[in-house]
Amino acid sequence: VTQAAVKAARLPGDPGVWIFIIADCCAFALFFLLFTIGRIGNPDLYERSRLLLDPTTGLLNTLILLTSSWFMVRAVEGARAGERSAVTRNLALSMAVGAGFGVSKIFEYSHKIGLGITMLTNEFFTYYFIFTGIHFLHFLIGLAVLAVCLAKARQDPLDARYVTWIEASGCYWHMVDLLWIMLFPMLYLLRAV
């Protein structure tokens, strides 16, 4: 990236959404720290509990969120180019693919509860349900924001204001993605050796 390109660059969305993203990322960093301290204190319990999670589901969720994010990038590019059909098509695809994460998570939670595993089972599952639950809440808010973006794209002009709106929404959606990218290995993959 040239220095001129950096100087010409404009932060996608508005600074407010970035402040929110940084604050949210810091909150999750604290979650990761809490989990890590818990794991250091009782590695055997964390390993036994981790083995009850299905990493394939976690991987599927990662692929879903990454693909949904990619469609979101294309929707933002479409908005910048003023191509309404590209915006609506890619937003709809982003939502449709992203919804798969919600379906998968509901199945996963139902399965755990069916096995008698709840957030009261042990410390690992307390963190598991709280962290993934808060992340799931972020996901639901993100889906709602994308739905608003889609409704606006169908009726409003694709002007600078709309571009700012969809860029900010996109950055939030990508944050949901990147938080999961860290949650997934921490909860599902870091195994005892």
Binding site: P12, A29, H174
Partner: protein
């Protein structure tokens, strides 16, 4: 290749083979790689999807520090349990 270099290579190869099987080194390397790959994925999402790659340095530094910090917390904490 001189005989000395060949000897060094053979010693290193022997120690590597032993460590991979006996010392759980491979498993630890795999776990470490998993977290480093996650950090790489986070940087890619931030840089390309969130377009921070094209932003002035202060914004990039904030997210580089976050990525380095959380990777260090999670992987460092995991390594502590291995000692």
């Amino acid at each position: 290749m001189t005989a000395t270099r060949a000897w060094l290579l053979l010693i290193a190869a022997s120690l590597t083979s032993f460590a991979l099987v006996e010392g759980a080194v491979l498993a630890r390397l795999v776990v470490s790689a998993v977290m480093l790959i996650a950090a790489f994925k986070v940087r890619t999402v931030i840089g390309h999807f969130m377009e921070l790659k094209f932003q002035p340095r202060p914004w990039r530094i904030v997210f580089e520090v976050w990525t380095l910090g959380v990777t260090t917390i999670i992987l460092g904490g995991w390594w502590i349990t291995q000692i």
